[in-house]
Amino acid sequence: MMKTETSTAPAPAAFEPRITAFVCNWCTYAGADLAGTSRLQYASNMRIIKLPCTGRIDPLFVLKAFENGADAVLVSGCHPGDCHYTSGNYHARRRWTLFRKLLALTGIGDDRLFFSWVSAAEGQKFADLVNDVTAKVRKAGPFCAVHPGRRAS
C-alpha cells in the first residue's frame, strides 16, 4: 500500500461535494484515461457519466443530476475543431451558452455548473480541472438545500 502525505483522511466534518461529470468518449474520457496512465492524483469527488459526444448531453441530464443530489455538474468534451463527430461539441457549446444563463437566473451559477474542453492529450488539464472544480464546490458548500431543483431529502 503506497502511502503519501496527501492521503490522510478528511476531517469528519469536512464537506465532500458530489460532482457529476458528463464527458464525451473521445476527448475528455480519453484525457481522464491519460491522467490515469500518467498517475496524476486528483480529488475523488467526481463521478463520470460517459457519452459518445457532448452533443448527446441534454440539459435535462444536468437538471436530473442536481435533482438527485449533485453539488455541481461538469460538462466536458473536445476542443472546438476536435470533435470526433466534427461538430457535436459546437452544438453543445451553443446549448450551454444559453442554458447556463437560464440556470444562473434560477440561482445555479458558475460555482455549480462547469464547462470545459479537455482533449485526449490533456491528462494534466483534466486532473487540474477536477481539483479546481472540487475546490470551488467545496468552497461553495452543499447545493442550497432549498433550491427548487433539488429533490427533497
Binding site: M2, T4, T6, R39, Q41
Partner: protein, 186 residues
C-alpha cells in the same frame, strides 16, 4: 509533486526563487549567454547542477564559490532559458545562504563589501549617496587605493552633492531593515 522526494535546497528554490530545480536539463544556455561566466569559478549551469544534487558536498562547493558573487543581474539567463527557469534567482538564494554562513571566498569579498556598504548607507539615511558609500566601501574592502582619483573628478563635474540627503522616514527604513534581517535569520 506526489511521490517525489525534494531536498531542502530544492524546496527553498521552489518557494523563494520560484525555480523547480528538477526542470533544469543542463543545456548550458545560461552559461553561454552569461556576461560574467568567464570570471566565474563555477559556471551557471554547474551551479544549477550542484543545486540539483543538493547533497552536503555540493552545498559546500556552492556556498564557497566566487561565482555567486559575480552575478550582475542582467537577466539574460532567465530571458533565454528554454525551461523558463531563472538561474540567477537560484544564485540569489545561494548567495543569501552563503552570506548567512559567513565564509565568503576572498576574491568575492570586495563585492560583498560593496553591497554591505551600499545597504549600510541606505539604512542610515534612507538613500544611497556616493560619498558615504565610497567611504564605507573602502573601510570594508580595504581597497583604499582603488579609484582614488574618481571622487575629486566627480566633484569637479558637479556630480556629487556634498551633503547627502537624509529622508524623514529613515526611522521607518531602519525598522524595515531590522524586520527583514530578522526574517533572514536561519
Amino acid at each position: 509533486m506526489s511521490g517525489t522526494k525534494e531536498h531542502a535546497l530544492a524546496k527553498a528554490a521552489r518557494e523563494t526563487a520560484g525555480v523547480v530545480l528538477s526542470e533544469c536539463y543542463q543545456c548550458g544556455k545560461c552559461t553561454a549567454g552569461c556576461p560574467m561566466a568567464r570570471y566565474m569559478d563555477l559556471s551557471p549551469n554547474q551551479i544549477m547542477r550542484l543545486a540539483q544534487a543538493g547533497d552536503d558536498a555540493a552545498l559546500e562547493r556552492l556556498l564557497g564559490c566566487e561565482a555567486l558573487w559575480y552575478c550582475v543581474g542582467c537577466l539574460t539567463c532567465a530571458q533565454r532559458c528554454p525551461r523558463k527557469l531563472d538561474p540567477a534567482a537560484v544564485m540569489d538564494l545561494l548567495r543569501e545562504m552563503a552570506h548567512r554562513r559567513g565564509k565568503i571566498p576572498a576574491a568575492a569579498r570586495k563585492v560583498l563589501a560593496f553591497h554591505k556598504a551600499f545597504l549600510d548607507t541606505v539604512e542610515h539615511g534612507g538613500r544611497m549617496a556616493e560619498i558615504p558609500l565610497v567611504l564605507r566601501y573602502k573601510m570594508k574592502s580595504l581597497d583604499l587605493l582603488g579609484d582614488v582619483m574618481l571622487g575629486p573628478v566627480m566633484l569637479a563635474k558637479r556630480k556629487l552633492p556634498l551633503l547627502p540627503h537624509r529622508i524623514r522616514g529613515r526611522g521607518e527604513v531602519r525598522r524595515i531593515f531590522k524586520k527583514c534581517r530578522e526574517e533572514h535569520r536561519p
